[in-house]
Every structure is written in C-alpha cells, then in structure tokens.
C-alpha cells in the first residue's frame, strides 16, 4: 500500500493555502503566468498555455485540494483491500491534476481540464469494469458529457470569431463591443449553458449522474458530488462578463436550475439505494447553484458550491462508512443481500454513533437549518432571486413571452418547494438508515460496528466544516461587527463584482423583507423534517426481499419518471437503428466495403477474366489479334 496518493494532495493543499495567504486583500487584476505558446494558429489565434491566479481560481483550488485530500485519506481505508488500489489512486490523482480547469487563463486551457475530468470520471465510474452495468454507466456518462461539450466548443468558436481571442481577460475586455442582450451573446451563452448542463448534470443532460454511482463511493463523494459536477457553475461564474450582458440566457440558467432542483428532489423521495438518494440530491443542489449564478448572484452560487462540497462529501463518505459496515457484515455471514438498500439497514445509530451524528449534521446543513453552512448559502440564493425580481436587468426582459419578474418569482417558489422536499427526502434517508429497528438480521447485526478511524477522521473534519462553513459569508442582517459579514462577497468582488452590478443596474442589491424570507425558508425546511418524522414509520419497513412493488405515482417516482426509458426510445434506439441500417449496413458495409473495396476488386477480377480469355495459347488467335491491331493502328493514322 502506498501513501503517495494522499501525500501529494496534502502538499498541493498546503501550496494552495500558501498562495492564498500571499494574495493581497485587494488585488484588482489577475496574476497570469504564461508558460509557452500552446497552439499558435497563425497570428489570429495565439493560444498560450497560461495559468491565472485570481480570487476565483484560488477559492476553487483551495476547496478542491482540501476536500480531495480528505477523500484521498478516506480512500486509503476504503480501498485498502482492493486489488486495483494503485490504479484507483492513479486515476484519483489524475483527476486532481486536472486543476487546469480552474487555473486555466483561457477557454481552451480550461477545456483541457474540462475534458480531462470527464475522462477520469469515465475511468472511475467503470473502475470495476468486469461488471457490464458499471462499464455501461461509464460509457453513458462519457457520451452524455460529449453532447454538452459540443455546446462548449461551439461557444468557443463563436467567441473567437466575434471577439478575436479566447483569453478570459481578452474576452472580458472585448465583449463590450457586442450588442448587450443581442442574439449573438444569447447564443454564445446558451451554448455554454449546454456544456454546463452536461458537466453539472442538469435537465436535460442529468441522466448520467445517478448511474455514475456505480463507481467506488469515495469517487462519488469527490467527483460526482463535491468537485467536478460543479464545473458548470464555475464556467458560468467565470463567464459572468458574458452572461450578465444577456438577461434571457441568465433567466434560462435560473429556470433550468429551479426546475432541476424540484424535479430531482421528487425523485429522491422514492429511491431506496442510499447512494441514489444522494445522487439525486446532488442534481437538485446543483440546481440551486444554477439559480444563484443564473440570477447574477455569482457569489451566492459559488458560496453554495463550497458549502455543498462540505456537507455532500460528508454525506457520501458517511454513506460509504455505512456501506462498508454493511458489506463487511454480509461478507462475514456470506449473505448476498444488497448492502446499499436502505430497506436492509435501520437502527444503525446504535452501531455507528460517530457516522450517525455526522450525517445528521450534514442533513441539517443541506436542509437549510440555521447555524449550519447550507442555511447561509441557500438563503442567500433564494433572497437574491427575490431581490432580482424587484429590480434588475432580468426583471426588465421577457422570457418566452413571460415577464422576467414573473419568471423570477416562479423560480423562487420552485426553489422553496425544492427546499421542503430536500428536508423531507434527507430526513427519510436518515430515518430508514439509522433509526427504527435494524433489518439486516440477527446474524449480521453481530458484525455491525463503527468504521475504523481512517474512515471516520475525514468524516468528522467535514462535519466541522459543515457546521462552520457559513462563516465565510455571513449575511448582513446578523448585524455583526465590521469584517465578519460578507467576506466571500468582498473576496470575489474583483472577479464577479462588475457583472453583478450590471445585473442590478449598478446598485448593490438589497433583499426586501429579508428576515421574513429567511424565516419562511427555515419554516419550510423544518416542515419537511417534521413531515418525514410524522409520516414515515421506520419500524414498519420490511427488508428489500420482502418488499412489495410500488404502485401508482410512487412507482413513477421509483422509476425516475421513466426518463431513461423515454431517452432510450426517443434518442438511443433511433440513433442505433440509423447507425445500424444506414451507417453500418448502408455506408460502411454497402458503399465502402461493398462498392469501393470489394467492387474495385470485382471490377479488376472481371477485367482480368477478359484478359485471360484472350490468352488462349493458340498461335493462330494471336496472329489474328496482331492483324487486327495493325489494321486498327493503320486505320487510326489514315483517318487522322
């Protein structure tokens, strides 16, 4: 066993911290380090391999390396007995090496990281590739992400052809010459958004993320919850100078986020696989981040990226500890039951007290209960929506014929409904996993115990961060001493401040009736938790093998609205059919193999056969041929 994997991450995190402390409090321009001319395409497109150190990139690097280091430590214990231990850490290290996504000073360099993390995601989803389902899940993630990447590429082409550069600072300087709110800017932003929906698993390209849970649980925690899937939010924030000039595109981002937040939350209500619940929760929470950056509250969206990385990584690692314990018990008793199905769990608080407490902390944080980190970030997002609905460039335009302010109020309602469902499905998960009687059977119960310290240590650290994480951007209504509130707002102001002000007509946005809105959000969250405690009966739940199939709308939710089946019939089957009948049998086998390859051979064979008929071996026939040839030549000369 090697400790190289976690060690390099700890060093990278230490370096990130050192760079953070080296930065002055007010740094107006980014620090760009150009290393070499990467793709000098004539004089028109000099793409350099350059890194950019600014407030946004350092913020991303800090939490990516920090959370990654914790998850690497967890992985040492979790994957210690796996035969592919070194291969696992090679892939996990490679993922973090693709920090170029956030360090890149231009869209092409960022795209390298963007594609690279997609590749590592594919490799780790199918880590146990001998199981076809895992390999298929990896391929699904890879293909769906490529659809989004097509949008990213088209957006880059449009930016270059209209602005003349792909460096962030160059685009920010040149985009002002394009008509604000015009169709060109909106088109660019919508293509970027297509890329974001693929990477960040939003409607309509969210379907790969729940299947991505086929990978090892620490991978789900790191790549498919805390870091990679938030790349879309980062791209919108990094491109804030573009999005803020296109209110229609901004509203589209917010609407997609709001609809996804609610839609995924409803599916999470009826999932039994503990990782699937968390997967749909991730899709839903990224929807909130999209709402934030969509309404031009870039800091709020990024704030939720950070807090979410703390409590969602904690939830996944906690779930990993639970699965670890359940699997070890089943392995000991040679049981073949499903170690991830919550119907086989129950009452685990007696066996795993540390995990139990930590996961409740994360549940309260994601539900938006005060003092926990998620409360501050989610509240800031919802408050920003109401503020923008009152007065902003978004409220001034129409979106598909609907007034922008009406769209924003609808986004707020969807967000609030999603908050209620979040509290409900998360409490359901906790009740069925840790409360009530244990349903694993007496023989297995004897084997259940808390995970070893190497697994619980990262979980406890993330638990502390899930409680205290809100400190980085405390709201003004707390009336704390100067310097205590809005730290992240001030930190990110040089990067996204201008874009935010553009959306709010140049004035600092103030949320009307902020305390009332905060109170409403808290009441909704508490209502979700109370509803779960009142309506759900963990004691009445039976193990998976004895469970009756769901009926009615519950069945629809359990089958995820049959979206996968719909995509299969509407997209996959026609594409496969066209590929098989036209591209394969028609073009490949028919035209290329049949006409061009075999056809040319048949043609030459025919010619050769004619030639062979002339080779009779009889001197008389050859003499006739010579005579005819001579006559033909003489005739040709005569007629000339």
């Amino acid at each position: 066993m090697t400790i190289v994997g976690p060690l390099v991450l700890i060093l990278a995190f230490a370096l990130a911290v050192a760079i953070f402390f080296a930065m002055p409090s007010h740094m107006a321009t980014p620090f760009v380090k150009t290393y070499f001319a990467w793709m000098p395409v004539g004089t028109d497109l000099p793409i350099h391999w350059a890194f950019q150190v600014d407030q946004l990139s350092v913020m991303m690097v800090l939490f990516v390396t920090g959370v990654s280091a914790l998850i690497h430590i967890f992985s040492v214990g979790y994957m210690g007995d796996d035969r592919g231990y070194a291969r696992y850490f090679a892939f996990l290290n490679l993922f973090v090496a693709l920090l170029v996504l956030v360090l890149g000073a231009s869209y092409p360099v960022m795209f390298v990281g963007w594609e690279g993390v997609g590749l590592v995601s594919y490799l780790l989803i199918g880590f146990w590739f001998n199981d076809k389902a895992n390999a298929d899940a990896g391929k699904k993630a890879f293909i769906v992400n490529r659809i989004g990447d097509f949008g990213f590429l088209i957006a880059m082409f449009l930016i270059w052809s209209n602005v003349g550069t792909l460096d962030f600072s160059g685009v920010a300087a040149g985009v002002g010459s394009l008509p604000a709110g015009g169709p060109l800017l909106t088109t660019i932003c919508l293509f970027l958004l297509l890329g974001c929906t693929g990477k960040s698993a939003q409607i309509p390209l969210y379907v790969w993320l729940p299947d991505a849970m086929a990978g090892p649980t620490p991978v789900s925690a790191l790549i498919h919850a805390a870091t990679m899937v938030t790349a879309g939010v980062y791209l919108v924030a990094r491109s804030s100078f573009l999005f803020s000039l296109s209110p229609v595109a901004c509203l589209t981002v917010a609407v997609i986020g709001a609809v996804t937040a609610l839609f995924a939350a409803t599916i999470g209500l009826k999932q039994w696989d503990i990782k699937k619940v968390l997967a749909y929760s991730t899709v839903s929470q990224i929807g909130y981040m999209f709402i934030g950056v969509g309404v031009g509250a870039y800091v709020a969206g990024l704030f939720h990226v950070i807090t979410h990385s703390f409590f969602k990584a904690l939830l996944f690692l906690g779930a990993g500890s639970v699965i670890f314990g359940m699997h070890a018990a089943y392995h000991h008793t040679h049981s073949t039951e499903d170690a991830q199905d919550m119907r086989n769990m129950g009452g685990l608080r007696a066996y795993m007290p540390v995990t139990f407490v930590m996961m409740w902390i994360a549940t309260l944080a994601i539900s938006g209960i005060p003092i926990f980190a998620g409360f501050f970030s989610k509240d800031e997002i919802l408050g920003s929506v109401i503020a923008r609905a009152g007065d902003s460039t978004l409220a001034d335009v129409h979106w598909l014929g609907i007034p922008g302010s009406a769209v924003l109020y609808a986004v707020y309602v969807l967000g609030l409904a999603g908050a209620f469902l979040t509290a409900l499905y998360m409490t359901r998960m906790m009740l069925y996993t840790f409360h009530g009687p244990n349903r694993s059977g007496a023989e297995n119960q004897a084997q259940l115990h808390e995970a070893p310290p190497i697994l619980t240590f990262p979980v406890v650290v993330l638990g502390v961060l899930s409680v205290l994480g809100g400190i980085i951007n405390l709201p003004a209504f707390l009336h704390l001493p100067a310097g205590w509130t809005g730290a992240l707002d001030q930190w990110l102001a040089p990067v996204v401040g201008d874009a935010t002000l553009h959306v709010t007509h140049g004035v600092a946005a103030e949320t009307p009736n902020e305390l009332a809105l905060v109170g409403l959000a808290v009441v909704v969250a508490i209502a979700g938790i109370v509803t779960a405690f009142v309506k759900l009966k963990p004691a009445a739940l039976v193990p998976k093998r004895e469970a009756q199939p769901a009926t009615g709308f519950e069945r629809v939710l359990e089958n995820k609205y049959y979206v996968d089946e719909f995509y299969d019939r509407a997209v996959v089957t026609p594409v496969v059919a066209v590929s098989r009948s036209f591209l394969w049998k028609g073009i490949d086998a028919g035209l290329i193999d049949g006409v061009l390859v075999n056809g040319s051979a048949w043609f030459m064979r025919g010619l050769a056969r004619i030639g062979s008929w002339l080779q009779t071996g009889q001197v008389g026939a050859y003499a006739w041929a010579i005579v005819i040839g001579v006559l033909a030549v003489l005739g040709a000369f005569t007629l000339r």
């Binding site: 070194a86 090679a90 973090v96 090496a97 090892p216």
Partner: protein, 102 residues
Amino acid sequence: MLQVPVPLAQPGGVHPLAGSIAELVWLLPILPLIGFVINGAISLFTSFHAGPADPSAAHGEHGVAHAGHEAHDAHDEHSAHTTHTTRTMSTRRPRAPRCTPS
C-alpha cells in the same frame, strides 16, 4: 472580425504576486500528476507477470488460481469487485501443438 489585444502580461508594472509563492502555481497540477505517474507505474508493475521462458510449459491455469483469491476480496459495495480478475497477457498463452505419433 474584431481584433482585441490580448493582455497576457500584467498591465501597469509589476503585479503584487510577482516573485511570490504564486509563481509556483504550476506545481498545483504537477503534484497530483506525480502521484498519477507513481501510482500508475505501481499499478502496471504489480499487474505484470512474466510468462515462462518456454511457451509450451504454460498451461493457462494461472488466471484460474487468481479468481479463487479474488472471491475473498472485501470492503466494496459491489459484488462486481469480488469477481474482478486481472488477466495478464502471459496467463493465456496458446498451448503448443500436440505431438502425435505418426
């Protein structure tokens, strides 16, 4: 096409981060990349098994022996893991043609 100058260099003199530890920003992706190289090499070396010098001595039973061990691998959430086999190129050599008496 609109041509905009690309401000790759810092405008207005020396940047406050010039000469600071931020100059080492390139190390941030390189450190994990070193981990990738080391772990990748370990992964390759540990899964490599040299075949017998005489191919006719190989009978392909090595991989079968491994599969039995793998069934006891624990600590994962998928049974797929337990059936994961690592077949190296050397374990599946074709048998030498049988020498039959004429």
